[in-house]
Amino acid sequence: MSDIVLGVENASVMEERPFAISSNKLVMWLFIISDAATFGAFLFVYGYLRNATPDWPAPFQSASIVNALIMSFILITSSLTMLMGVRAARSNNKSSALRWILVTVGAGLLFAILHLREWLGLIGDGLGMSHNPWGSGLFGASFFSITGLHLTHVIGGVIALTVVALGYKRGRYGSDDIEVWSLYWHFVDLVWMFVVPLVYLLNIAH
C-alpha cells in the first residue's frame, strides 16, 4: 500500500474550500452563530420572565434612555471605524489601520465606562440581583445577566483588538486577522441592537 502525502504541492489536485474563506474566518463565523444562539436564549428567557411576571418593573428614566442611545451611537460608530481599519489594513496602510483600530478600542472602552456608570446608578437606586424597589426581583437578575454578558463581550473585544493591533504592528498578524476580529466586533454591535429595544425601550418609566 502506498502512502498518500498531502502538502502544498498537492494543492492543485485537492478539492477547493467549500466556502472560499480562510479557516480562521470560518471558525469566527461558527463562533458568532453559536454566540447568537446564546444571546437569543438569554433574550427569550428575559421575554418569558417579563410575560409571566405581573409586577414586572419599568425603571428606566429618560436619563437611562439617553445614555443607552449615546452608547448605541458609540458602538455603531465603532463598527464604522473598525471597517476603516480593515480597509486600511487591506491597502497595506499600517499606520492608518492601527489608528482606526485603536479608535475602535477607545470607543469600546468608552462604551464600557458608560455601561458601568449606568449599572452603578441603578444599583444606587436599589436594583439588585434579587430585589428592587419597583417590582419583581427577577428583573435585576435578567437585566444584569443580559447586559453583563454583552459587556463581557465588549471587554473581550477590546482586549482581542488591542492584542491583534499590537501583533499587526509587529508583523505577527496580517490584514486577514484584523478582518476576522472585525467580524466579532460587528457582532457585539449587532447584539446591542436587540438589547436596547427589548431591555431598555420596553421598560421606560411613565
Partner: protein, 100 residues
Amino acid sequence: MTGQEKQVGSMTTYLIVYVFIMAIAVVQVVFAYQMGPQLPFMLLLAMIQATLAVLFFMHLHRERSTLVLALIPAILFVLFMMNMIWSDSFRLLTMRPFLK
C-alpha cells in the same frame, strides 16, 4: 471603483448603512415614547438593523452563497424553535393567584 474597493466594499455604502442604522436607533426611541411598549415593531426595526449590519458591515452579501446557507438557516431555525416558550409564559398569568 478600484479593485481594492471591490474587495473591502465602498466607503459610501458603509456610510449610508451607518446613517440608516443610527436613524433606526433614534426612531426606536421616539416611537417607544410616542407609542409605548410595542414589541413587534421594536423587534422588526432591530431585525432591519441587524440584517444591514450582517450584510454590509460583516460583508456577508459578498461571501459565497454556500456559507450563507450553512450559517443563517441554522441560527434562524434555533431561534424559531425557542418561540415555543411563549404559550407557557402566558399560561402562567392565567393560573392562581394571578387569574382575574
